[in-house]
């Protein structure tokens, strides 16, 4: 009866067969840098959205990108995630993956997750289903058609629900959540996907002070295990989470450093507050 035992073991319903599992993607971070953006340029109808931009993100870091509207923050994210192709330059994920050669789905599969500026969740689905669809699984058509949730995956969803505080709302339609809750759900979707690099566009827009604080805690706790890049306008929020801040201006990097360094930087003050203030700061 040994064969029966082994057959039972093979067809256990709480597990996923190995060949159904997603292929592991190895990201080479031996130089401690996970994202290389070099000499990047892109223009739309003559307008240079990104102009010779260089940016290096270290593995496990929490980086904030700030900059005025039109500084190229969202365009940069579009390029990293494969939505927009640049005119020139290179973007590498680790040492071995050239992101410019891949489309959105392949890049997501490598482990780059993205949260949009406007919260984008599957409104017709329940919160639970939203997370189910985000899980790190094989996302081929046939595999998805016959997919079932394993016990491990269910645990993972419950964990994420706990983290984002939506356990009670798990059966609610995502469309009926509040704005802040949708933001959280979208962050939860990134968590469920176990992405290595998280690109988070304006995570606290439309959140109350309390929610903002909780989000800051969450993002800080993610750094280390994940690499997090946050785009944000809320300076208080940036100050509360960031160790390193990069300022973008007119499509290229204006300054980089800690928040205090940035606030003392003459160029930044000039761009943000005008020349008078820069002179004053220089005099003081």
């Amino acid at each position: 009866m040994e064969w029966l035992e082994s057959a039972r073991e093979t067809f256990r319903r709480d597990q996923v067969w190995n060949f159904m599992l997603p292929e592991e993607v190895h990201v080479d971070v031996s130089k401690e840098v996970i994202l290389y953006v070099e000499d990047l340029s892109v223009s739309f109808d003559g307008f240079k959205a990104i102009n010779n931009l260089n940016l290096y993100i270290n593995d496990g870091e929490l980086r904030c990108l700030i900059g005025a509207n039109g500084a190229g923050k969202t365009t940069l994210m579009d390029i990293i995630t494969g939505k927009t192709k640049p005119d020139s330059g290179s973007v590498w994920f680790g040492q071995t993956h050239n992101l410019l050669e891949h489309d959105e789905a392949a890049i997501a599969h490598m482990g780059i997750g993205r949260k949009f500026q406007k919260p984008t969740v599957f409104e017709a689905h329940s919160v639970y289903t939203n997370l189910e669809l985000s899980l790190k699984t094989n996302k081929g058509v046939l595999q998805t058609l016959f997919a079932r949730l394993s016990t491990k995956q269910k645990q993972r969803i419950d964990e994420v629900l706990e983290t984002i505080g939506l356990t009670e709302q798990q059966h609610m339609e995502a469309g009926s959540l509040s704005h802040g809750q949708k933001q959280w759900l979208e962050i939860g979707m990134l968590l469920a996907s176990d992405s290595r690099l998280l690109l988070v566009d304006e995570p606290v827009a439309g959140m109350t002070a309390e929610e903002t604080e909780k989000t800051a805690e969450l993002l800080k706790s993610l750094a280390g295990k994940h690499t997090v890049v946050v785009v944000e306008h809320d300076m208080e929020f940036v100050r509360s989470i960031a160790r390193t801040v990069t300022v973008l201006h007119q499509g290229s990097v204006l300054a980089e450093g800690t928040m205090d360094e940035i606030q003392r930087n003459k160029d930044v003050i000039e761009v943000y507050l005008g020349e008078e203030h820069a002179d004053q700061a220089g005099a003081a």
């Binding site: 599969h109 599957f122 998805t144 997919a147």
Partner: protein
């Protein structure tokens, strides 16, 4: 208590909104009605009150074919937001596949008595059978072609369109152009599909006389069976994670893409599945109606299907089927009384449904049921309080 009640209402809400929650009862009803109609036609004499005329049997079969076509449109439109205004093309291609088989079955009983060529080819002075007519004597091969050709067309069209990320109204116009182009092509005599007149004068199917009551009843039963199978299969697909991804693609395609789903592949396969259902409907339609001609490709037909789905309620499977049955029954009735008014009535119905019932008639039943349930639960909650 509040958690309990919210859980309860969530549960209820979920159930009523669940697509195809009533598929199984509907399939049961469909089988019972088909059974009654069949027995009524075959076992009772014409004087009995249980007698069902052969005309009614054929009419029922026709409606069920339309219902299957509506189901096909609902699958792509209601669930994935692909508004196809060319689904009649797949329906007609399936019909032509069946028509070619039926033409070959005529043999030498045609007007010209040519054992090798169908009448229209003799009329055009053709000497031999074109290569693409070869093999259509074989029922299995003909059916395979009737499904494979529309499926392949849907695959190629979908692959090109979805890979280039054509969506919305542009896609609708392209589907419309597709069916229009096919119509013009099939109108040409040189195409070898009977041109203007199409294929007709069928005699037998699988050796059974097409005019006999038994064959008619068998065709109706087959149609009812195929509709049931496609309904149940579609429900299973829509409940799977694949179906969830399809709905996700409908709502925010870019989000699904950034999660790692290759949305174009999902859309292509859904489109192919839908086209094959439409082709099955077409193949079953032709032997019951007795003719297939290029008129089936007209864009108006495709648009009419969309109206059935909108009226019934899209994204519900059953809604589309009910919409098709209801509108076609109304059409049969109204065109008998007052033929000129039909298109106006259809147009008015479409406008009214779009304005006042965005979820269609099926959605109306759903919301009425919800209201009843919620008023009940709230009253019990008050009692408890």
């Amino acid at each position: 208590m509040t958690i309990m009640s919210s859980l309860l209402s969530n549960q209820l809400f979920k159930r009523s909104g669940e697509p195809g929650a009533v598929v199984a009862p509907f399939v049961g009803l469909l089988i019972i009605v088909t059974l009654f109609a069949s027995v009524g036609n075959l076992a009772f004499s014409e004087t009995s009150i249980f007698y069902v005329s052969t005309y009614t049997i054929t009419l029922l079969g026709k409606y069920l074919c339309y219902a299957m076509l509506a189901l096909a449109v609902d699958i792509v439109w209601g669930y994935c937001g692909i508004l196809s205004l060319g689904h009649a093309a797949f329906f007609a291609l399936g019909g032509y596949g069946m028509g070619m088989y039926l033409m070959r079955q005529i043999g030498d009983r045609g007007v010209y008595g040519n054992p090798l060529l169908p009448d229209f080819m003799v009329f055009l002075n053709w000497q031999e059978l074109p290569w693409y007519w070869q093999g259509f004597d074989n029922f299995g091969f003909a059916m395979l072609m009737a499904l494979a050709v529309p499926g392949l067309l849907a695959f190629v069209f979908g692959w090109l369109a979805f890979r280039s990320r054509v969506t919305g109204v542009y896609l609708s116009i392209m589907t419309q152009a597709l069916t229009y182009a096919l119509m013009l092509a099939f109108f040409r005599n040189e195409m070898g599909f009977g041109g203007n007149n199409g294929l007709t004068d069928f005699k037998d199917i699988l050796g059974f006389n097409l005019q006999s009551d038994t064959t008619r009843v068998a065709l109706l039963a087959t149609t009812a069976f195929m509709l049931s199978v496609t309904l149940l299969l579609s429900q299973a697909i829509m409940k799977s994670r694949f179906g969830k991804v399809i709905i996700a693609v409908r709502d925010t395609e870019s989000r699904s893409r950034f999660l790692g789903y290759r949305t174009e592949r999902y859309k292509v396969w859904l489109f192919v599945y839908s086209a094959v259902i439409a082709a099955i409907a077409g193949a079953l339609y032709v032997p019951q109606i007795g003719i297939i001609n290029p008129g089936e490709f007209t864009p108006i037909n495709s648009i009419e299907v969309v109206i059935w789905v909108a009226i019934g309620g899209r994204g519900t499977l059953i809604g589309a089927v009910l919409g098709a049955l209801l509108v076609n029954y109304a059409k049969t009735r109204l065109t008998a009384i007052f033929p000129e008014a039909w298109l106006f009535a259809l147009g008015a119905l479409f406008v009214l449904v779009t304005l006042f019932l965005p979820k269609g008639l099926f959605g109306l039943f759903g919301s009425l049921k919800n209201k009843l349930v919620s008023s009940k639960t709230s009253s019990t909650a008050e009692e408890v309080a």
